[in-house]
């Protein structure tokens, strides 16, 4: 079986609404039309995808939106697998699905849009606050499969909640193709916390913020031998604030590639980005981020930082923080660092009798602490701390 039109006619997709079937077909056309990104494309220059052939993994695995949350939700709130939601709430979903994660962006995005299965639909109506975080889990158990869940999150006016997306693979089995994406629509005055913990290959996380909306997005990348993650926020209304934070820990021969975008469409908007990564063994990471301030977006305030802690001689970090500023009445600052553990810090700890390995580990934990402390709910924080701990070894 391959990624073809016949595959789209499979029974489980046949029942979908016409608009979605049409959308899948046009995404498939884009997939067939678009070339494999080459090293001459700026976005892929530093990314080696020679060994990656999704068509090897054309057997689908159903990671169908296990919403690991059984408790009662306030009235009007929808938390459903996306596959069910497109049937039950078609009118709500149609204008939003793939409005931000564009299928024609590249071959992999097209593939994802054509064949996605699983993922969740979260809808929180105007004025509804949910204190406990909503949890979504996406599993990949089998090898040789493709797992392509897609999550759509919609926050109504003044809604407030936290959501955790957890992408889980059994072991570090590489014989699979996994792509998990999320679209987040934050309505006027709403406040959304979104945390994604991923060990997968591709992730497109894209948010749109209306007037006075607040987004706190945390991307934690720990896994997959190869991963390409895009985190993008468009600030569409004045007073919008996006906090985009990332942690990555790469070891062995892992390769992580991050693209971020802080897209200030209008003025009086704020974005604050901090991606911190630690690398060991022969791991490599690439961070390329852009702050884009549109012409009319006066009084925007944007901050972008990428910090890399290189723990071994053979690990390699590339950092490309970019600015495109089309308005003078702004405050934009960015910074990037790549460096080893500060020998003074190490010396300080060792002089207090702490063994070198433990000292190094404490420094890494401290390094990540700055981001971890900002995660808006305890559950995700603990989970990530444990994950990091086990990997630091």
């Amino acid at each position: 079986m391959t990624f073809t039109a016949e595959t789209l006619e499979r029974t489980e997709l046949r029942g979908e609404p016409d608009w979605l079937r049409q959308r899948r077909r046009s995404a498939l056309e884009a997939y067939e039309r678009l070339p494999i990104p080459s090293r001459t494309d700026e976005e892929w220059r530093r990314t080696d995808i020679a060994g990656l052939d999704p068509s090897q993994f054309a057997k689908f695995e159903h990671a169908n939106g296990a919403v690991a949350d059984e408790r009662e939700l306030p009235k009007g709130v929808i938390v459903e697998p996306l596959s069910a939601a497109v049937m039950n709430h078609s009118a709500l979903i149609e204008p939003l699905l793939f409005s931000m994660v564009r299928p024609d962006r590249d071959r992999f995005a097209a593939l994802h849009a054509a064949f996605f299965t699983g993922g969740n639909f979260v809808y929180v109506p105007d004025g509804v606050n949910i204190d406990e975080p909503i949890l979504g889990q996406h599993f990949s158990h089998e090898s040789g499969t493709s797992v392509l869940p897609h999550t759509l999150i919609v926050a109504g006016k003044g809604a407030r909640f936290n959501y955790l997306d957890e992408y889980i693979a059994d072991g570090d089995d590489e014989a699979a193709y996994r792509s998990g994406s999320a679209e987040i629509i934050v309505g006027e005055g709403a406040e959304v916390g979104y945390v994604a913990i991923q060990t997968w290959h591709f992730a497109d996380q894209r948010a749109r913020l209306a007037k006075d909306a607040t987004l706190k997005l945390f991307n934690i990348t720990l896994g997959a031998r190869f991963s390409k993650t895009r985190v993008e926020a468009s600030l569409m209304g004045p007073g919008a604030t996006a906090e985009l934070k990332g942690i990555y820990f790469a070891s062995g021969d892992q390769f992580f590639d991050f693209h971020t975008l802080q897209d200030h469409q209008v003025g009086n908007t704020t974005s604050d980005l901090l991606f911190k990564g630690a690398l060991q063994d022969v791991a490599r990471t690439v961070y390329a981020g852009l702050i884009r301030i549109e012409k009319g977006a006066a009084r925007s305030d944007a901050y972008q930082a990428n910090r890399n802690l290189v723990l071994s001689a053979k690990a390699k970090a590339t950092s490309i923080p970019m600015l495109e500023i089309d308005n003078n009445d702004v405050r934009c600052t960015h910074g990037a660092t790549v460096g080893p553990v500060d020998p003074n810090h190490l010396f300080y700890l060792r002089s207090r009798g702490i063994p070198e390995m433990t000292a190094k580990r404490m420094i890494v934990q401290g390094f990540f602490g700055q981001v971890l402390d900002r995660i808006p709910f305890e559950q995700a924080r603990t989970m990530i701390e444990n994950e990091l701990e086990s990997r630091l070894g």
Partner: protein
């Protein structure tokens, strides 16, 4: 490629500011366009050895094969077939100021070359068109064994030294414009500083463009032997014309063990010039290379002075300012390539955009495997003077070695209301206050210049600031 050159708005007061125009009077002017015959003709006119003719022809082949760069500024309006690749303004080099033709002198008077000569009492190598026509070198320098010639004379007079280094830092195949320069180069400076010799007085050359549709392809080669020091200053202005002119220079510098070289440029081409320059230095053990690079004029500048840090202890420094006014795009920056361990580099960039101008910082820090314990720091500050202007920052940082510390910082801001209010409350007009703030902003750059140049730069900034409505 578009055959219709883009109309250029250069501002009506440009002529009064620093644009001027002298009627053409050329001894030899090659045909427009680019083909092997023209390249052979240039080489023949110059009486070059065969290896150079072959080098030019090979470079032309490379130029033809290389695609136009698709990044950076829009270069599609350049019409390579509509350019004069060689002109010779007078038949022999003048040895003294008095011998120069009157119209050339008139041009230089506007530029202030005689003053510079009086003040420096040093070698002035001023370039009018493609050939160095005025050249004086202090006896003192010759006595020390310092060679300071135009590049064509150097090829004739020091063929072995020339051949040993020419094209070794920037090979023709480096990029499309270095290939073009290698095929049609003419003029430029050649400097050799022997072992242990310190040249205390800056060596200067003025470069000029003065013909419609004329490309200027000077080629500069500087060799600092072990333990030597030289400061070379290149300043440029160009008269105003309405069709696009192309300036594509290649500057190669070799800084040997313990030597230090500083290369200062104030580039002020008129706003219809495409300025596409490749500048690169190789710094060996404990050597220091400093680029001080100011870009004010031109329509489009793409220039990224670079230092290859080849041996332990080498140090590279780029200090760059860019000012983009109406219709201008300054795409400038710097590159530091760390090849050896214990090497250090810094890049400081200051850019100012005004009246719809666009400045882009584009830089690359590359630390190769084995270049352990290297340090690099990049700082970019951008000032946007009005809401129509634009500023970009594209820093590429690749680290492949152990124990490397790399930092990058950038800020973008406007002239702060507090600063303006403070100055204006003391009776200073708004435009004066803005000029003062801008001059303060680029002060780290200005203070590295010799006094005369600092004064000239401040004056230019003042003219640029007055030149449009704020």
């Amino acid at each position: 490629m578009a055959t219709q050159p883009k109309p250029v708005d250069v501002g009506s007061d440009y002529k009064e500011k620093y644009g001027f125009f002298v009627p053409e009077d050329y001894v030899f002017k090659a045909k427009r366009g680019l083909n092997p015959d023209i390249v052979k003709e240039i080489s023949f006119m110059k009486g070059e050895p065969e290896w150079m003719t072959k080098f030019r022809l090979r470079s032309l082949e490379i130029f033809r094969k290389k695609p136009m760069p698709t990044w950076g500024a829009d270069l599609s309006v350049i019409d390579f077939e509509n350019i004069f690749y060689y002109l010779k303004a007078s038949d022999k080099q003048s040895k003294s100021w008095e011998e120069l033709p009157a119209d050339i002198k008139a041009t230089y008077d506007r530029l202030g070359v005689p003053e510079a000569e009086r003040k420096f009492l040093a070698g002035v190598s001023a370039q009018y068109e493609s050939e160095v026509v005025y050249h004086s070198l202090q006896k003192e320098l010759s006595a020390k064994g310092v060679i300071f010639l135009d590049t064509d004379s150097a090829l004739r007079e020091h063929p072995d030294l020339f051949k040993e280094y020419f094209g070794t830092v920037i090979p023709p195949a480096d990029n499309k414009f270095s290939a073009l320069n290698s095929a049609v180069w003419s003029g430029g400076s050649f400097i050799y500083v022997p072992k242990g010799v310190r040249v205390d007085i800056p060596l200067q050359a003025y470069f000029r463009i003065n013909a419609e549709n004329m490309g200027q392809f000077e080629r500069t080669l500087i060799i600092c032997d072990e333990g030597s020091f030289v400061h070379y200053i290149e300043g440029c202005t160009a008269p105003i014309y309405t069709t696009d002119s192309l300036h594509s220079a290649v500057v190669e510098i070799i800084v040997k063990k313990n030597a230090r070289c500083r290369y200062t440029t104030i580039q002020n081409w008129s706003t219809n010039v495409f300025n596409l320059v490749t500048k690169r230095a190789m710094a060996y053990a404990d050597a220091t290379m400093e680029w001080v690079d100011g870009n004010l004029g031109s329509q489009i500048t793409m220039k990224y002075p670079s230092v290859y840090l080849m041996e332990p202890g080498a140090k590279g420094d780029v200090l760059s300012i860019a000012f983009a006014g109406k219709g201008q795009h300054q795409d400038a920056g710097g590159k530091m390539i760390h090849v050896a361990p214990n090497t250090t580099s810094t890049i400081t960039s200051k850019s100012i955009s005004k009246a719809g101008g666009r400045t882009s910082y584009r830089g690359h820090i590359k630390v190769y495997p084995g270049a352990n314990n290297s340090k690099s720091f990049v700082k970019c500050d951008a000032l946007l003077l009005d809401e129509n202007s634009r500023s970009d920052t594209y820093p590429y940082n690749d680290v492949d070695a152990d124990n490397v510390t790399l930092g990058h910082e950038a800020t973008v801001s406007k002239v702060s209301d507090e600063q303006l209010f403070y100055l204006m409350s003391r009776g200073i007009t708004r435009s004066e206050a803005e000029t003062m703030i801008v001059n303060g902003f680029i002060e780290p750059f200005t203070k590295e210049l010799p006094l005369e140049y600092a004064v000239e730069l401040n004056r230019l900034i003042q003219l640029e600031m007055e030149g449009s409505v704020g």
